[in-house]
C-alpha cells in the first residue's frame, strides 16, 4: 500500500474504547457512564505515557457520538501561549470602575490561559443533541496557581461543559479541584494484555518474536505503550526476527541518556565540556531549568553513590533549582550547578 502510515505508533493507535489495551475495569466503568449518559467532572491520574489522554478522548468520542467534533476540545496546559494569544488576553483586561474597596481603580485581569483557551469553549452553548460538551485538560498540574481560576468555572459552567482533567501528579492539583471531581486512577497496562497487543502487531507486520522478549519490551518501555511500539519498529528494521539482544541494543540507542552522560561528565570534573553538552541538551529538547534539574535528580538516583554523597548532590541541585526560580538567565543557573558538581567530584575521589 502506498499511503500507509510509516510510523507504527500512529498506525496502531486505538480507534475505539474497546481497542484500548488492558485496563478492563476502567473501560467498564467508562462504558457504564456512556450508557447512563451523565457524569461529573473527572480527574484522571496515572503515570506518564500510559494512555490517560487516549482513554479520555476515546471516551468522549463515544459519549458525544456524532456531535463529537463540535463539542469536544483537548488543551495542553503546559504549552505556553503564543504572542498573539497573550495579546488577546491582555487587550481584554479592564480598569475597575469601583471607587471603594481593594479593587478600586485596579486593572482586572484573568489568567491569560483561562481567558484565551478555556473560557471561549466552556461559555459556548452545546451544539446538537448532547447533554453537555467535554473539555479535556492535559498536564493539569502544570497550571500552578492558574488552577484557582478553574474552581468557579467548573461550578458556573459545569452544566454546560464537563471537564476531564488529566494529571500525572495528584499532589500538584489543588484540593478544591480534587473535591469537585470524580477520581479515576489509571494503572499501567498488565503484562497479559500487553503481550496480546504486541503479538497482534507482530502478526500484522509478519514479525517473529523470540520467547521472553515481550517481557523485556514491557520492562524497558516502562508501561508506555507508544514507546514499546517504537522499540518494536526500530528493531524490526534490521530483520523480521526480533531477539532479546536486539531489543536491548535498540533501547540503549533510544533512551535519552544525554542527561545521564551530562551528570557523569560533571562528576568527572570537566566543566567546559559539561557546559557545552548542557547547552546542546537545552537547545535540542527545550527543557526549562527546572525540568533539567529534575532529570538530573532522576539520573542521580541511578548512580551507585554513598548516601552522604547523594544527599550532598541533592542539596546542590535543590539550591540551584531554588535560585533559578528567581533568576533570569537560565544558562548561568545551570552552569552554576554544573560547576559546583565538578568541584564536589574532586572530594569524591
Amino acid at each position: 500500500m502506498n499511503n500507509e502510515i510509516p510510523i507504527w505508533r500512529i498506525k496502531y493507535i486505538p480507534k475505539t474504547l474497546d481497542e484500548v489495551c488492558g485496563r478492563e475495569k476502567i473501560k467498564e466503568r467508562l462504558k457504564n457512564i456512556i450508557k447512563q449518559g451523565n457524569f461529573p467532572h473527572l480527574l484522571f491520574v496515572g503515570s506518564e505515557g500510559i494512555g490517560k489522554a487516549t482513554l479520555a478522548s476515546l471516551f468522549s468520542k463515544e459519549f458525544l457520538g456524532i456531535f463529537y467534533d463540535a463539542n469536544f476540545k483537548l488543551i495542553y496546559a503546559n504549552v505556553p501561549l503564543t504572542e498573539e494569544e497573550r495579546q488577546l488576553a491582555r487587550s481584554e483586561a479592564y480598569v475597575s470602575k469601583s471607587k471603594i474597596g481593594s479593587i478600586a481603580g485596579r486593572r482586572i485581569t484573568t489568567p491569560a490561559f483561562i481567558k484565551v483557551k478555556v473560557k471561549p469553549f466552556v461559555q459556548l452553548k452545546v451544539l446538537g443533541d448532547t447533554p453537555f460538551k467535554i473539555l479535556i485538560v492535559k498536564n493539569f498540574e502544570t497550571l500552578g496557581s492558574n488552577q484557582q481560576g478553574f474552581r468557579r468555572l467548573m461550578e458556573i459552567y459545569g452544566s454546560n461543559c464537563r471537564m476531564i482533567l488529566i494529571t500525572t501528579k495528584i499532589s500538584g492539583v489543588i484540593d478544591p479541584i480534587v473535591s469537585r471531581c470524580q477520581l479515576f486512577l489509571i494503572s499501567q497496562v498488565d503484562l497479559n494484555s500487553f503481550k496480546e497487543l504486541m503479538n497482534k502487531i507482530a502478526e500484522n507486520e509478519s514479525l517473529e518474536i523470540e520467547d521472553g522478549s515481550i517481557e523485556i519490551l514491557y520492562k524497558v518501555s516502562n508501561g508506555k505503550i507508544s514507546r514499546a511500539i517504537d522499540l518494536l519498529q526500530l528493531s524490526s528494521i534490521s530483520g523480521k526476527k526480533i531477539t532479546k539482544n536486539m531489543l536491548y541494543e535498540v533501547a540503549q540507542k533510544f533512551q535519552n541518556d544525554l542527561v545521564g552522560s551530562l551528570l557523569l561528565m560533571t562528576l568527572r570534573g570537566d566543566f567546559p565540556k559539561a557546559r557545552e553538552l548542557s547547552r546542546n541538551i537545552i537547545s535540542n529538547y527545550k527543557y526549562n531549568p527546572h525540568e533539567l534539574f529534575n532529570l538530573l535528580l532522576n539520573e542521580l538516583n541511578k548512580l551507585p553513590l554513598s548516601k552522604f554523597a547523594r544527599i550532598q548532590l541533592i542539596n546542590l541541585i535543590a539550591d540551584a533549582d531554588f535560585r533559578a526560580l528567581d533568576g533570569i538567565d537560565n544558562d548561568i543557573q545551570i552552569s552554576a550547578l554544573l560547576s559546583k558538581i565538578c568541584l564536589f567530584s574532586e572530594h569524591l575521589s
Binding site: P6, Y76, P80, N256, N288, D326, I332, S339, K340
Partner: protein, 449 residues
C-alpha cells in the same frame, strides 16, 4: 591647522527641513513607507481629527451641563493610532532630526523630553501633563505656534504595569491636544502596551553612500582638506550607519592636530561598545585586584549591565581554570542573577549594589592567581530554550505531524521527534517514507537528520 569650531557639528548641521535631509528607509509592519510623507500626513491628520473631536466635545459639554446624572455622555477621545507614532531604530540615524525638521517645516514648536533624565512616572507627568492636556490661555491671544511633543528614548523608561511610566504615556496619548512622536532604539517587552496602540515605524540605518555624501558636504562647508578619503571610509565603516557618530568623529579629527596619524585617532575616538566590552572583560579578570577596582570598572563603563553579566558568564572559564574557583565564581554569579531577577520583577532597585559587586567583584576575585597573556573573549551565546520557543521549521514540522497524530508541541519535541530522528537515521528508505508521508520540505527534513 584645522579650522576652529564653535559648536557641536551634530547640532549645527541638524537638517532644517525634512525635504533637504537624507531620509532613512522605514517600514511599517514590513512594508516600505516614505517617512517624510507619512509623518507630515500624520501631523496634519491629527489636527483635523482634533478639531472634529473638540467640536463634538463642546456639544457634549453643553449637553452635560443641563442633563441629569444618567443622561450625561462621556467626552470623545482621539484614537491612539491617530494621536501618536513610534519610531524605532538604532542610535544616530536621524530619528530625532526628522522630528525637528518636520516641526520646522510645519512651523511648530517641539516639546522634548528624553527618558534618560525623566525616567519615572512622576517626572514624566510633571513635565508633560499640563502641556498635553490644555492649551494655555495666552495661546489664543498670541496665536503662538502649535506644539509637537517628542518623547525620546522611550525604551529607557522603566516600565512595569503598576509603577512604570508606560501607563502614563498611554494616558497622555489618550488625552493629548498635540501630536506625539516617540523614539526608541530597540524592542522592549515592557513597551508592548505601546506597540499595541500606536503605529510603529521601523527605521533603518542610512546607506554608506548617503553618509559619504553628507560627510563630504560638511567637510566642504568647514573647508577641511586634511581628511584622507581612506580615513573617511574607515570612519564610516566603523560607525555602521550611525550618522551622528560619523559627524562626531569627523569633528574630533578636524579639531585635533593633523600631524598625528589619523588612523590611531579614529580608533581612539571610536565608541565601539563591543571593543570596549572585550577590553573591560580582560581588565576585570586580569588586572582587578580589589573590590573597589572592580566596582570602579563597572561604574565607569557605559556598557549596559544587563549585557555585561552575560559576557562574564560566557567568558569566565577562559580566565579561571581551577574547579574550586569556577564554582566560587559561579556561586556569586548565580546569586547575582537571582538578585537581578528580583530587582526586575519587583522593582527592588535598592538591591542593585549587591548585583554589581556579586557579578563583577564576586567573579573576578574568586581567582587566587591572575592569568596573564592574551585570552580570547567571545560573544555571549544566545541559548535557545528555557522559555519554550520553537524555530519556524520545528513549528511547521509539528503542524504537519498534528494532521494525523494529535500531540502537544512539548511532547513532540521531547518524545516524538527524537524517535523520528533515530528511525530516519537507520536508513535512507525510512527517511523517504517519513518525509513522503508528512510531505516535508528540505528544511524540515534537515531536522530529522
Amino acid at each position: 591647522m584645522a579650522k576652529k569650531v564653535k559648536s557641536v557639528w551634530v547640532e549645527e548641521y541638524r537638517p532644517k527641513s525634512i525635504r533637504e535631509m537624507a531620509l532613512p528607509t522605514a517600514k511599517v509592519s514590513g512594508h516600505k513607507v516614505d517617512l517624510a510623507e507619512d509623518l507630515t500626513k500624520f501631523v496634519k491628520n491629527f489636527f483635523k481629527e482634533m478639531k472634529k473631536i473638540n467640536a463634538e466635545n463642546r456639544i457634549i459639554r453643553v449637553h452635560n451641563r443641563t442633563a441629569s446624572e444618567k443622561e450625561r455622555k462621556e467626552e470623545v477621545k482621539i484614537a491612539p493610532e491617530n494621536a501618536a507614532v513610534l519610531l524605532e531604530g538604532p542610535p544616530g540615524i536621524g530619528k530625532t532630526s526628522i522630528v525637528f525638521a518636520l516641526a520646522n517645516d510645519l512651523n511648530m514648536e517641539v516639546i522634548e523630553t528624553n527618558a534618560s533624565d525623566t525616567r519615572t512616572r512622576d517626572a514624566l507627568e510633571n513635565k508633560l501633563r499640563e502641556t498635553v492636556k490644555s492649551r494655555g490661555i495666552m495661546d489664543f491671544v498670541t496665536q503662538s505656534k502649535e506644539k509637537l511633543i517628542l518623547i525620546d528614548e522611550v525604551d529607557g523608561i522603566y516600565g512595569t504595569k503598576d509603577r512604570g511610566a508606560v501607563p502614563t504615556i498611554l494616558d497622555l496619548i489618550q488625552n493629548t491636544q498635540f501630536p506625539i512622536i516617540m523614539c526608541s532604539n530597540e524592542y522592549k517587552q515592557s513597551l508592548q502596551p505601546l506597540y499595541n496602540k500606536v503605529r510603529k515605524f521601523e527605521v533603518y540605518p542610512l546607506s554608506d553612500e548617503e553618509v559619504i555624501k553628507i560627510a563630504h558636504n560638511i567637510l566642504k562647508k568647514e573647508s577641511i582638506t586634511t581628511l584622507k578619503r581612506s580615513d573617511l571610509d574607515l570612519i564610516i565603516k566603523k560607525n555602521n550607519g550611525d550618522l551622528r557618530g560619523v559627524i562626531n568623529d569627523i569633528q574630533g579629527i578636524a579639531q585635533g592636530s593633523t600631524e598625528v596619524d589619523n588612523k590611531d585617532l579614529i580608533f581612539t575616538l571610536h565608541r565601539d561598545t563591543t571593543e570596549e566590552i572585550f577590553a573591560l572583560i580582560r581588565d576585570l579578570f586580569q588586572n582587578v585586584s580589589t573590590l573597589r577596582e572592580a566596582r570602579d570598572l563597572t561604574d565607569k563603563s557605559d556598557v549596559d549591565y544587563n549585557f555585561l553579566y552575560k559576557w562574564v558568564n560566557e567568558n569566565l572559564i577562559s580566565f579561571i581554570k581551577i574547579n574550586k574557583e569556577i564554582a566560587n565564581a559561579y556561586d556569586n554569579l548565580s546569586l547575582a542573577d537571582e538578585v537581578f531577577g528580583r530587582i526586575r520583577r519587583n522593582q527592588y532597585w535598592a538591591l542593585l549594589p549587591y548585583f554589581y559587586d556579586l557579578f563583577a567583584g564576586g567573579t573576578s576575585l574568586a581567582q587566587s592567581r591572575k592569568t596573564s597573556g592574551f585570552r580570547r573573549v567571545v560573544f555571549p551565546r544566545y541559548v535557545v530554550g528555557g522559555a519554550f520557543s520553537l524555530t519556524n521549521a520545528e513549528r511547521s514540522l509539528i503542524e504537519k505531524i498534528n494532521k494525523t497524530y494529535d500531540i502537544s508541541q512539548i511532547e513532540a519535541i521531547q518524545d516524538f521527534i527524537p524517535f523520528l530522528k533515530i528511525l530516519c537515521s537507520t536508513s535512507r528508505r525510512q527517511l523517504k517514507n517519513v518525509s513522503d508521508w508528512l510531505d516535508l520540505d528540505a528544511k524540515e527534513k534537515k531536522l530529522l537528520k
